[in-house]
Symmetry: C2
DNA sequence: ACATATTGTTAGGATAGACTAACATTACTA
DNA sequence: TAGTAATGTTAGTCTATCCTAACAATATGT
């Protein structure tokens, strides 16, 4: 049931979840635009996510997340956000830079390293707040 | 001339460089073992690296790096080592964990984020040395 | 409700990466 | 040096991802 997703499918799932939270619905074309892929590629990805039981979806049908899909999406988003915080707050990357790196790394970092980054970020933002980065001259 | 390599080809190139530094020569099978791929896959990768002018290589021939190949390999290895340091020293990951994460992230992290990680690691290892990790209870 | 625009799907093709199995070459060793 | 083992190559296949172009369904505006 819960075989690991590819990076690509994780991106689709994540995009679906984020979009639904903001707009309550998603269409294939919304996802296509967000991920900068064709509508055809999106259809294909939706089929796969559906087969894996992560979204409810049928031909010309509305898209929604299943329980499993939502749980998994939340995990991915959580990783994304933690990485974003780390890059933005701790390393002082720009918004876009932090987003880009978080987007890529969220799919490949190990759970242990992720935990360490979260702990690290928490420790430092508590201790130094936003001023931290300025201390080390990047 | 210098189109960007895929993550996979970067891995091959890196492995070749590291192996040559230790043993002065490499064979396809050495690479295959290091990267855990078949000899056939290695042959294919060698052809591509050769086409891109990064290695000297012909059928049943010895493998060596070109000037360009060596330069590029060094850059990748440098990124790898810096990421390893960050995970091992700053976050306190185990050797294997640090290696694994460095291996994956080296191919996708942005140059800017890489610079920040290097600066960060230097700052902290100077300031706290190996004792740093213990302070934040990971 | 009908024409048009938008969105979704399918078919077909490309690229990258990996694999196995069969075969070619090279290296070792008795 | 002959035979075997090790290594390298090729051919053919697979999966994942993306694309375009053509077509199907739905939504919209008058």
């Amino acid at each position: 049931m819960s075989e690991k997703l590819t990076s690509s499918l994780e991106d689709y799932l994540e995009a679906i979840c984020v979009f639904i939270k903001k707009n309550s619905t998603v269409r294939a074309i919304d996802i296509a635009r967000i991920l900068n892929v064709s509508r055809a590629s999106t259809t294909e990805a939706l089929k796969k996510l559906s087969e894996k039981g992560l979204i409810n979806y049928g031909r010309y049908d509305a898209i929604s997340l299943t329980k499993n899909g939502e749980e998994l999406a939340e995990l991915i988003i959580e990783k994304h956000n933690s990485l974003y915080e780390f890059f933005a707050k701790v390393l002082g990357s720009s918004h876009d830079e932090a987003q880009e790196n978080a987007c890529k790394i969220e799919h490949i970092i190990s759970p242990d390293a992720m935990r360490r980054i979260v702990a690290f970020t928490n420790y430092y933002s508590k201790k130094y707040g936003d001023e931290f980065v300025k201390k080390i001259d990047l």
